[in-house]
């Protein structure tokens, strides 16, 4: 399979090319955290009355009294062995915390992205096919509204309506009711784990908890996806081969899906990549509102506490995810459009 080989070589080349960027991210966040005001030793000293001696002792224990290049070298050496340092707030290794919390964030983001695509692709298609009609106007207005309302406002609105007034969804705190027995930890994705352990009641419960935060995030990114679908489809629908398909009497449904949408997919894929990366970062508001135990709220708490290691670990994680998403989008582009060269 020469195709697989090309894929593999390409992934390898990409990974190599992204190393300098990753190193840059590490150095930048490292320096930034130390330049920001706030001293973790003061924060973690036993109390507001702790003496200078106690603080200095803490600083020495944390390695903060050594020159910055040496601290950086220690940190980078640690990363090589998979050690991102320890969080002072949770007392756990950052690697462990991230492993525990990343599935929660990913589950939320992926569900939201899926919901958003389910909505935005049909809306975009309708909007493009009946461009400038009343339907198109309604959809564009909806997009504008969704884009203008910040996620924490829509989150509170959704909680008010669906939890407080109608009581359709469970108590909007956390991933799962604390009294529900957790499934055996296989993937960390609750919905998948409940399915794998064959627990439909638990699955329904987790899905209920996930629904509101996911809808909130989905509404937030509905607008860019719908607008891009509409714009991309409009361009494609004016091209010659759509005219050919109509001249050959192909059914409308087939023209829309196979001829128009397939060719409009390329810019939509790029947008999905961007939107996904944005969502991972923007999650923090939704995670806070719904007490969702994800990585973004973890990083925010650490930042407030001047806890260096988790913030650095979080930013490094985001950079790696971003690079992986871009690589995935590139590979998909090659599959979607045979003209995109594999080189």
């Amino acid at each position: 399979m020469s195709m697989m080989q090309t894929f593999r070589r390409r992934i390898g080349a990409r990974a190599l090319a992204s190393l300098p960027a990753l190193l840059g991210v590490i150095v930048f966040t490292f320096v930034l955290m130390r330049v920001l005001p706030g001293d973790p030793a003061v924060y973690f000293a036993s109390g507001p009355n702790a003496g200078q001696a106690e603080i200095d002792g803490l600083r020495h224990k944390m390695g903060l009294d050594r020159p910055m290049p040496i601290q950086l070298a220690h940190y980078v050496a640690g990363i090589m062995t998979g050690d991102l340092g320890n969080s002072l707030t949770t007392g756990q290794p950052v690697m462990h915390d991230i492993q525990a919390r990343l599935p929660a964030s990913l589950e939320l983001t992926l569900t939201a992205l899926g919901l958003s695509l389910l909505l935005s692709l049909p809306l975009g298609i309708v909007s493009a096919w009946y461009a400038n009609s009343r339907w198109d106007q309604c959809i564009r207005t909806l997009c504008t509204i969704c884009f203008c309302i910040p996620p924490f406002v829509s989150a509170i609105f959704l909680i008010y309506v669906f939890y407080y007034i109608f009581g359709l969804v469970p108590d909007p705190t956390g991933r799962i009711n604390i009294f529900t027995p957790l499934p055996h930890d296989i993937t960390g994705f609750l919905l998948v784990d409940f399915l794998l352990t064959g627990d439909p009641a638990g699955w329904r419960e987790a899905a209920g908890q996930l629904l509101l935060p996911a809808v909130t995030m989905a509404l937030f990114v509905l607008s860019p996806l719908t607008r891009m679908t509409r714009a991309s489809l409009l361009t494609v629908m004016n091209s010659d081969f759509i005219r050919t398909a109509r001249a050959m009497g192909l059914p409308t449904w087939r023209i829309v899906t196979v001829y128009a949408l397939r060719n409009a997919l390329s810019p939509i894929l790029t947008t999905i990549g961007i939107v996904f990366s944005t969502m991972l970062g923007a999650n923090v508001l939704v995670e806070k509102v719904f007490s969702w135990p994800g990585v973004a709220s973890y990083a925010l708490d650490a930042l407030v506490a001047s806890d260096y290691a988790p913030v650095q670990g979080f930013i490094l994680l985001m950079a790696i995810l971003f690079i992986m998403v871009n690589l995935l989008v590139d590979i998909l582009q090659g599959l979607v459009d045979p003209r995109v060269s594999m080189e």
Binding site: T244, R246, M248, G249, R254, V258, N263, V336, P338
Partner: protein
């Protein structure tokens, strides 16, 4: 009036803009009879394509039929052409076959889509039909290449696939909208012969929409000439040519390069004296990164004031050669010298600094596309003067640009317009004015008229001929059209697969071609011979490779 298979009766089509409207068709009546070929001829904007699209029900949103009727057999299809007719009973072949095929779908799948849209067959039967269709359009190596994507095929092969799609469900009418525009002369003949043969074999009626009167005359049973949305004249090809009634038809016939042997042009005799050549190219070679040897050991010279034609079909390396000489590409091997000094060794990236840059200028194929869309015509013409010419104050620059514009017959009022506000012919004039604004000694013209319709083309050719005489420039004229080269050039070089197959005086080559390839090219030119027309077209050999 005789009823044909397709009748268009007093058709009016109106395009409505934001606060204006424009009547594209005004009372067009045409009748297509069973098994006959009707040529609809006119320049761009005459409404000939709109006529075809109205029949298919494919008019753009802003256009609407405001009067008249279209009848297919006994069915009125004026308001709407039902889906079961489109493709199955009336099919259409478009120009620009690369764009007209879905780029992300294999050609065999696109063909099956058409069959599936109109007939319910099982997979095996569809596959059989697809193979059979591709074979009947002489698609080479069907079993191995039916799974390719359109971008892997040449324009000629794409057009064959397009034709296979059109005949997939055995329609009774085919509308061919400029099916050979943009294809080189051998491919053009092959595609036209194919359409002709299929329509005769299957007793299909065909409406051939073209701007090339010569082409229409060779293949059609009757011709309708359109101008500004009306049919100004119609009749048999012989009648139209021997006795054109309308002034517009007469102009079209005069503009038609292929209709009558061109007179050897007057400047042709001036360059026979032995002088030091202006440009000397020896043993030039260029291989692209993908291993394709585009130019292989090519040598020629151009004398001062001489015009050399460079002929070849697409892929013959003629555009690469013109770019090498124009110093936009670096040769792998060989020498280029200009006025006795070597310029082949100056890198293409540095050549803009060389003192020879103003003396070698280019005019490109796509007139509109080679102008900066954010530059007005004035800026486009002034740009090389600002960069290469002597320093001029704004008043002198304005004066110089206006003089260049006047030289190419561009009205001063047009100088403030942007490319999208200019017609194709006007864009071509801007491109030429831009090239001559720095007084070059050698002008490289890469198919400068390929995108223009016949009338605009003949005007541009006359302009180029006049400019050369007035300014004493030399031309390297790249084209696939032998007749145009014959009108403009003293000598011609014929390229095939990057190699020179024949060089010589134009008239000699025309009278007495030595290489078999040249003879093939000459035979492929549409010749209108009223008496022997049908016989010639029927026995015309097809060239499968394209």
């Amino acid at each position: 009036m005789m009823r044909g298979i397709l009748d268009i009766d007093a058709l009016n089509v109106r395009f409505t803009g934001r606060n204006s409207h424009f009547d594209a068709l005004r009372g067009v009546s045409l009748s297509l009879e069973q098994g006959r070929i009707l040529g609809v001829v006119g320049e761009s904007g005459s409404g000939k394509s709109v006529t075809g699209l109205s029949v298919m029900g494919l008019l753009p949103q802003q256009a609407s039929i405001t009067g008249g009727r279209i009848r297919f057999r006994d069915q009125d299809i004026t308001a709407r052409t039902p889906r079961h007719l489109r493709g199955a009973s009336i099919a259409m072949v478009f120009q620009n076959p690369h764009a007209a095929l879905n780029p992300t779908r294999r050609i065999c799948d696109q063909l099956s889509d058409v069959i599936q849209a109109h007939e319910s067959l099982d997979r095996g039967a569809i596959r059989q039909r697809v193979i059979h269709l591709l074979e009947s359009v002489n698609f080479p190596d069907v079993s191995r290449r039916m799974g390719v994507y359109p971008h892997e095929l040449s324009g000629g092969l794409c057009q064959r696939v397009m034709i296979a799609m059109a005949i997939a469900c055995s329609p009774s009418v085919i509308i061919a909208d400029e099916p050979t525009t943009g294809l080189d002369v051998l491919t053009q003949k092959a595609v036209m012969d194919l359409l002709f043969r299929l329509s005769r074999e299957r007793a299909m009626s065909m409406m051939l929409i073209t701007h090339d009167l010569g082409l229409a005359a060779q293949y059609c049973d009757s011709i309708a000439v359109m101008q500004k949305g009306t049919v100004v004249e119609s009749g048999s090809p012989a009648n139209i040519f021997s006795n054109p009634q309308h002034a517009y038809t007469q102009r079209l016939i005069e503009a038609c390069t292929t209709m009558h042997p061109a007179q050897p042009h007057p400047a042709g005799k001036t360059t026979s004296r032995k002088r030091r050549p202006l440009l000397e190219v020896s043993n030039l070679r260029k291989r692209y990164a993908n291993g394709h040897l585009a130019v292989d050991d090519v040598s020629f010279t151009i004398a001062p004031g001489e015009s050399l034609g460079l002929i070849g079909e697409s892929g013959s390396g003629k555009s690469t050669l013109s770019r090498l000489v124009g110093r936009l590409l670096d040769p792998d091997d060989g020498a280029i010298s200009f006025e006795g000094r070597s310029i082949g060794t100056i890198g293409a990236h540095d050549f803009f600094r060389a003192e020879q840059r103003p003396h070698i200028q280019l005019v490109f194929q796509d007139a509109a596309g080679s102008l900066n869309p954010r530059f007005t015509a004035f800026d486009s013409i002034a740009d090389p003067v600002r960069r290469l010419g002597p320093a001029r104050d704004p008043g002198a620059l304005r004066h110089h640009v206006e003089k260049c514009a006047a030289d190419v017959g561009l009205a001063p009022a047009l100088l403030d317009r942007y490319p999208h506000q200019l017609s194709g012919g006007q864009c071509a004039r801007v491109g030429i004015a831009r090239a001559i604004s720095v007084d070059p000694k050698l002008l490289i013209l890469d198919e400068p008229t390929a995108a223009l319709d016949v009338l605009a083309q003949s005007e541009i050719l006359a302009l180029l001929e006049r400019l050369r005489r007035e300014k004493g420039m030399s031309y390297l004229f790249v084209s696939h059209d032998l007749h145009i080269v014959r009108m403009i050039c003293d000598r011609m070089v014929i390229l095939q697969n990057g190699k020179i197959v024949e060089t010589g005086n134009c008239e000699e080559v025309f009278q007495n071609p030595r290489a078999p390839y040249t003879a093939q090219l000459l035979a492929a030119i549409p010749h209108f011979r009223p008496a022997s027309q049908e016989a010639a077209a029927a026995t015309g050999t097809e060239f499968a490779g394209s």
